[in-house]
Symmetry: C2
Subunit: 412 residues, 2 copies
């Protein structure tokens, strides 16, 4: 039996326990939704306020040089690179995952002449699938065809007709981790290039993109990286592909000399050509600051605590006999479990609403999934204790059956 | 002869004179670069601070519903619509001009089967040309060919081979206004659809998109709309095209039901399908607040003062006999002059640097253009007086010939 004194001991011994003070979280809130929107760090708050008051407000247009706004996609990209096992010059920060996937899929197809299949999983995050479908419609069918298979079947389905494999490293619903090294190697044996979506990985677990010989990747700035709502995404292109590859959203920021105002697009060298339009500086500054919080810890340390948090969550679900009513989607094997634990229940939507009402924020994913995300920088062991205790009370008293918890919001 | 007492009288009689207090400009700065980066309004500063501290910080992920983040692209779009003569449901705010042009050009080509020419001007803003070139490379040559002609030749070059006409309403270099009504009508006679780039028009002069029967438009949030550095752009699609049109960067935010997490993309109705990925909320909030400043005036009132400012600038250039040394690019006809006046000089780069050093911010455009932009919300007549006086002193003393003003910055 785990009791409150065990929980208190875990928090007292936590080497990351002081990190929460660097975040602006309400004291009484149990926030287990950092996999949807990471919390506000004091650093991000201060730096955006400074960028507004002193840079935009006082130095105005001069800030592009004076405060290095023009370099932010690259400098933020390098900070992310350091967290995902990428050497310099391969990551840039811009646009959204959707737009970046559009660039990488079209550009990747361009490297794979004679092949037209994009292989992905039917349980991939929807926008990844939708972007591939948009490209399928835009290009003629002799250039592109999307094929969706079960996640468990992905390696078996790789063959020499496949141009690109498009997979999420951590499944947004189940939290299942795919084996990046093995899948990438299997793809390469068949001449297939791989695009990894790191939305639920970057900032959540150690990654080794270079060492795994990854070709391309995209990822999210607003989840585990805590960059703020809708923070720009990032993309990775391995050095070895950078010379031949060309992406079609060839805006001025990706030009080799944007301020020459030439009438002919010439791609900038390296990763820089993947920029398109003018970047949203306030959102970039916020992400830039949030990334600096990572300098005081390591991905290994964060991962260790993340696994302890998710392990504790599952242990407590079991201790309160909740795994009869709920079905566990998450893997119990550490190396297959991302920084979240999802459980399913026919009433998951209503249960999630009551939890939020009681100050425990998780999220719901259609049709029946309740996701708890773990952010070791600001989640404590007592958060997990309180969350499962609330859940247990709700189920025991059947509070979720009250009709007022059934009404659906736009975003859930 | 215009003298300082005339200038003071103009400022005293200016119905917009109190607007400057709503902006955070340094007292001693003459800022004539609002056509590159609009100034910081106190409203934008307050609202972003609130969005960070209270929305992101306290309500976290719940803010997508509670604070209507999810609706911002649409609600900001409608505020812009009111400034550009567009009825509701036709404007949304997202991504950059570059990305939005990619969507509109590919989508527009899809409506024009049998036609493949994109006609544009060689003096169009470079990113517009680059995006068309990227699409030209992506699609096969039987689907797309970019043709660039002189701006003055544009109407003559429209014929029935043209699918899309891509033109800037106000030329970024010369400030010349093209006749939106006439060019759109000429294009329609030949079955050509028109994409207008409003980067230097929106917030600067009255526009009548609906009345001119415009098909498509894009525009910028960070120039005359004062949305902040890299603020999201907007796009306009006329109601009559919305049912048939499909854009290829079909991300989840443009799905008819994004949170159903279906594996099949179904375009949202109306303008909404033009959204792609998750929008950068902090940058959107800033633009949203900046647009509210426009509620206290009208485009007609702003335009009237803008023409007086640019007229005064040209009068003073003449009074100080500067139009021998400099060549005027701007039109002297009010209805052909945007909210800027450009002049050329072989030493324009160095002259611009000395002006900035003296507290007069204008900008330089390759190869020899010095642009002064007029933002009637925060520019006063004394700003113009001081700017031309500084310019006159610099030229008289040949200060720009000092070698230290010749070194080039990244962004100029």
């Amino acid at each position: 039996m785990i009791d409150i004194s065990d929980i208190k001991a875990l928090d007292a011994a936590d080497p990351l326990r002081n990190f929460r003070q660097g975040f602006e979280l309400p004291d009484d809130l149990v926030y287990l939704d950092g996999n949807s929107l990471g919390a506000l760090s004091r650093l991000a708050q201060q730096r955006v306020a400074d960028a507004i008051a002193n840079q935009w407000g006082q130095d105005l247009v001069k800030s592009w040089n004076m405060h290095h706004w023009i370099d932010l996609p690259q400098s933020v990209g390098e900070k992310i690179a350091a967290l995902i096992g990428a050497g310099i010059g391969q990551v840039t920060c811009c646009d959204s995952i959707s737009v970046n996937l559009f660039k990488l899929i079209t550009a990747g197809l361009g490297l794979q002449s004679g092949r037209r299949v994009i292989l992905s999983t039917s349980d991939n995050f929807p926008t990844d699938i939708y972007i591939a479908q948009g490209i399928e419609k835009l290009l003629s069918s002799d250039r592109c065809e999307l094929k969706l298979v079960e996640e468990s079947e992905i390696i078996n389905q790789i063959d020499s007709s496949v141009a690109l494999l498009l997979v999420s490293h951590v499944n947004f619903r189940t939290g299942e981790i795919l084996d990046m090294r093995k899948i990438t190697a299997s793809a390469h044996k068949q001449g297939v290039l791989v695009i990894w979506d790191l939305a639920h990985s970057a900032g959540a677990l150690p990654l080794e993109l270079d060492s795994c010989q990854v070709d391309f990747a995209v990822g999210c700035g607003y989840k585990y990286l805590n960059g703020g709502p809708g923070a720009p995404a990032f993309l990775y292109v391995a050095n070895r592909h950078q010379e031949q590859i060309r992406q079609p959203i060839s805006g001025w920021m990706g030009h080799s000399d944007p301020f020459a105002f030439s009438t002919r697009y010439t791609a900038a060298p390296g990763i820089h050509q993947f920029l398109s339009g003018t970047p949203p500086i306030l959102s970039l500054v916020s992400l830039d600051a949030a990334l600096d919080v990572f300098a005081n810890t390591s991905m290994a340390q964060l991962r260790k605590k993340s696994l302890q948090l998710s392990g504790l969550y599952m242990d407590l679900l079991r201790q309160y006999s909740l795994l009869g009513e709920f079905t566990l989607l998450a893997s119990e094997e550490d190396d297959r479990r991302g920084s979240q634990v999802a459980i399913t229940h026919p009433q998951a939507y209503a249960i999630c609403q009551v939890l939020i009402d009681r100050g425990v924020v998780m999220d719901f994913r259609e049709p029946d999934t309740l996701r708890a995300g773990f952010a070791p920088m600001y989640n404590s062991y007592i958060d997990i204790w309180r969350a499962v205790n609330e859940l247990q009370k709700i189920m025991k008293n059947e509070e979720h059956l009250d009709p007022r918890w059934q009404a659906r919001n736009k975003v859930t």
